[in-house]
Amino acid sequence: MTTRTQGAPGTGAPLSVSAILFRIVGLAVIDAVALVFGIGLWYGGLGLAAVVLAAMTVVINVAFLSDRLMPVRWISPGLLLLTIMVVYPLLYTVYIALTNYGQGHILSKDQVIARFEDETYSGKSYSWVAYRSDGGEFLIWLSDPEGGEFLGDVQARTIAPVERADPRFGAIDPADNLPVAIDGFQKVPRLQTFQYLTRLAAERLQGEIDGAPAEIRIENLNTASLGQQKYTYDPARDVLVDNETGTEYVSREGFFTAPDGRTLTPGFAAFIGPANFVRVLTDPGIQGPFVGVFIWTFSFAALTVLLAFAVGLGLALVLNDKQLPAKGLFRTLMIVPYTIPGFIGILTWVGLLNPLYGPVNGILESALGIEPRWFQDGTLAKVALLLINTWLGFPYMLLVSLGALQSIPSEIYEAANIDGASPFQRFRTITFPLLLVALAPLLIGAFAFNFNNFTVIDLATEGGPPVPGSQTPAGQTDILISYAYRLAFAGGRGQDYALAAAISIVIFLIVAAITLVNFRLSRRVEQMV
């Protein structure tokens, strides 16, 4: 018991045996889970992730078993999750951005080599019939179109020409001119052969055919073929040799490439350096609309936060009024938009705002005689998006504002009353600055979130309406992240994960920079108060 008092400053109560047991069992569970995941990662080919996980697990164990590292103890699970959920994906994204991972380069090099080495050429074809013993052993009867017949022994992996006079052959079935049984091996009916296919196809039968060494393998229910391996990979020189033609394919930028420039399909994911970043920064197709998209992204995020905050705060002030009856009911109702899943809310709004059949236009037309072409006109589409996003965002602002309002001490207001401050003055000089101190970090968070709010854009407008005269896929309401999606996944050759990764890193840097500036500014605001 002495170690505790010396080593754990700040812990007052003595540790009970059950508390120690609890800690140890907890650790054991964590370790067990980490081990299961770690082994899975290791064998799944994610060695780096497994090593990172192991290191983090060791840190946690040390932290919990050593009293000296007490402060690290409670932060270590957070660190672990941060590493797994944020740092590792970030590093992985950087890595992907430096490869050509995407359409045509999905498989790893090993997988591609294995696929090519599995291919065969020439291949005289044989039809075949299996004979099975009760013990599960097999003989294979092979017939070629010219009438040659061979008998393969699956156990010995051999093949030999058939002597029709062989005493092992029993009665001959007139239907196919084959023996019904061979020395205890019964002929397997065609439909029954299916179940042994995987097993038999795994075997290679070797022997001499027409005076040359041959290897036969079963291709499917009907054919077995005399195949030679088409490609062989030479790891020393990193080339794939075509055994049929002698062509050597060099591994180059994710393709096995022949000297004449032909490439083999499929290609594989390969490291190509900063090419994707260069493309993001120099390609006119990407750069062209970038400034416009960036300005709209910034205004979309800023206006969303501003509007949602204004509505939320306004309602919070009303709901905070002591004279308001049925306050609880109103508060509950105001939270409802927050509880409806975003994609339902968004799609409902899209329906409401349908220019032809939507009720919003129905009302506007009968009341004012106007029919705004929501979603068909760039400016109106932006207005509609802000409207939808304000609707989705204000309950959150209402919630946090309500909480913050309650934390402002009422004495200040009493003092203000005595000084004869008007309600507006009270709001401007007391409520708002004090609220801002508490809420500034949340507003920054909301801004960063909306900066990358792909869901709203994609569900409401899909980036549209298109820009007339534009030659890039950017629409008038595309924000950076939806634009990146369009570039990477609706682009020339399908999915380009590597380009998407490169663009997301650029966006990440932009958001990080803006957030940093925001924090600086908000700290200044706090200091001013």
Partner: protein, 444 residues
């Protein structure tokens, strides 16, 4: 005392760790035990269960194919059909089959994700235009259908033929082909229009007749290249030029060809004349027809059940011709074998020797009446509307499967949007779209 407890705890932790090891340790080498006696183990397995078959240690969403058990991924509409066929196959051959339901839209990407990791299926159901992704990435296996090729519709077989650079190979067994055709209300339209001129004339007359109460006589879904493609081909336009062997040329984009521009002007004029309107999506289109607020529209056989149910008297006709015959896009559905199938030979043989038969194809059609591409089955169909769709598909162009097609949709949709909303003249709208598509294809 404290330190003793701590040591004991460490031991407990170690023991638990060792216990944890045993689990994944066993799963890392399942092939050795499974393949040693596949027949014995296999016959004990539950058959054709849409739920978890036997002991599968991995909780990953779409379950993996185990050596010995043939695993199929199919979408929800075809899962019951294939479960029945799988049960019959198990009864006939003693091979256990597991049919798993995976959303049609997810099959392709999940095959890409789970196939190479060894957790994928043996066989998937899919559309032929997935080949651009699946074949290019080496995820599906070529099939030898030469034995049955005379029983498969040539357009469908061509659609499932893909050239990755070493000559075209067949990558799937087609079983149904879908293409759009003209639905018309037989009360208002006694004989279907044979040309677009007739259709426009008829639509103008019908819309002028206030007694009918039509909102729109002819409805075309807005911003939808797929449904408007037959109009493009009727005007002599095209998306990609074709090589002599029927494969598409990605460097020849024809959206702004003479025929393409004629298509744009025709749509533009129809919008100006009030015959087409922006803001009509697929659901609105169906709803207008079933409530007799429109008399004609174009879509595929998937709408048949809904239209039949509505009780509106209708018939289906080929899409009217223009300067040329209207060729709709044909989408062919079929079975593909994963390149990473644990039972590849079994999977291939299941398709070529069990599914590709009159009996199985007939039961597929009976349970899920999509226009069959199996010639003997297709010829025996007596429903006039299904026959009309088969007719329409046989005139059509396979939806281009080349990866470059993904560059086309966005810009084409945008051009249609601009024409429908009259935000831009049709000629520049289509020219911009075509230029943008060319730039995308060249830049990738």
């Amino acid at each position: 005392m404290h330190s003793t407890l701590r040591l004991g705890g460490a031991l407990v932790a170690l023991v638990l760790l060792l216990m944890a090891c045993a689990g994944p340790g066993a799963t890392t080498a399942p092939s050795a035990t499974a393949s040693a006696a596949p027949s014995a183990a296999a016959s004990e397995e539950p058959t054709a269960a849409p739920s978890e078959p036997g002991a599968s240690p991995t909780p990953t969403p779409p379950p993996a194919a185990e050596a010995g058990t043939l695993t199929l991924w199919v979408d929800e509409t075809r899962a019951p059909v294939l479960t029945a066929i799988a049960e019959q196959f198990t009864a006939d051959t003693n091979v256990p089959v597991a049919v798993y339901q995976v959303g049609f839209g997810d099959i392709r990407d999940r095959l890409q994700l789970y196939g190479p990791s060894g957790e994928g299926p043996d066989i998937v159901i899919g559309a032929h235009d997935w080949l651009g992704q699946l074949a290019t990435n080496g995820l599906v296996e070529p099939l030898d259908l030469s034995a049955v090729s005379d029983k498969v519709d040539p357009v469908a077989l061509g659609a499932f033929t893909y050239d990755t650079g070493e000559g075209g190979q067949v990558y799937g067994l087609p079983y149904a082909a879908e293409a759009v055709a003209l639905y018309y209300n037989t009360e208002m339209v006694p004989t279907p229009p044979a040309t677009w001129e007739e259709l426009i004339e008829l639509a103008t007359d019908l819309q002028a007749d206030a007694g009918l109460g039509l909102e729109q006589a002819y409805v075309l879904q807005e911003k939808d290249p797929y449904h408007s493609y037959p109009l493009l081909t009727a005007n002599g336009g095209y998306i990609f030029g074709k090589n002599d062997d029927g494969t598409y040329k990605p460097d020849d984009v024809g959206l702004d060809s003479e025929g393409g521009l004629a298509y744009g002007r025709m749509l533009d004029q129809m919008v100006k004349d009030g015959l087409l309107r922006a803001g009509v999506n697929y659901d609105t289109m169906i709803q207008l027809f079933t409530t007799k607020k429109s008399a004609m529209f174009v879509t595929g056989p998937w709408a048949l059940p809904q239209i039949r149910e509505s009780g509106v008297p209708f018939a289906v006709a080929p899409i009217p011709a223009g300067a040329e015959t209207a060729r709709p896009f044909v989408g062919v559905q079929g079975f593909m074998v994963s390149a990473f199938a644990p039972n590849k030979e079994l999977a291939v043989s299941f398709l070529t020797d069990y599914v590709a038969t009159d009996t199985t194809m007939q039961s597929l059609f009976d349970a899920d009446p999509r226009p069959s591409t199996w010639v003997p089955v297709a010829e025996a169909i007596d429903e006039a509307d299904v026959q009309a769709f088969i007719q329409s598909a046989s005139n059509g162009d396979p939806l281009p499967a080349i990866p470059e097609m993904s560059a086309v949709w966005t810009d084409w949709t945008d051009a249609l949007d601009l024409i429908f909303t009259q935000a831009q003249e049709p000629d520049p709208a289509l020219q911009d779209a075509a230029d943008s598509i060319r730039a995308l294809i060249a830049g990738s």
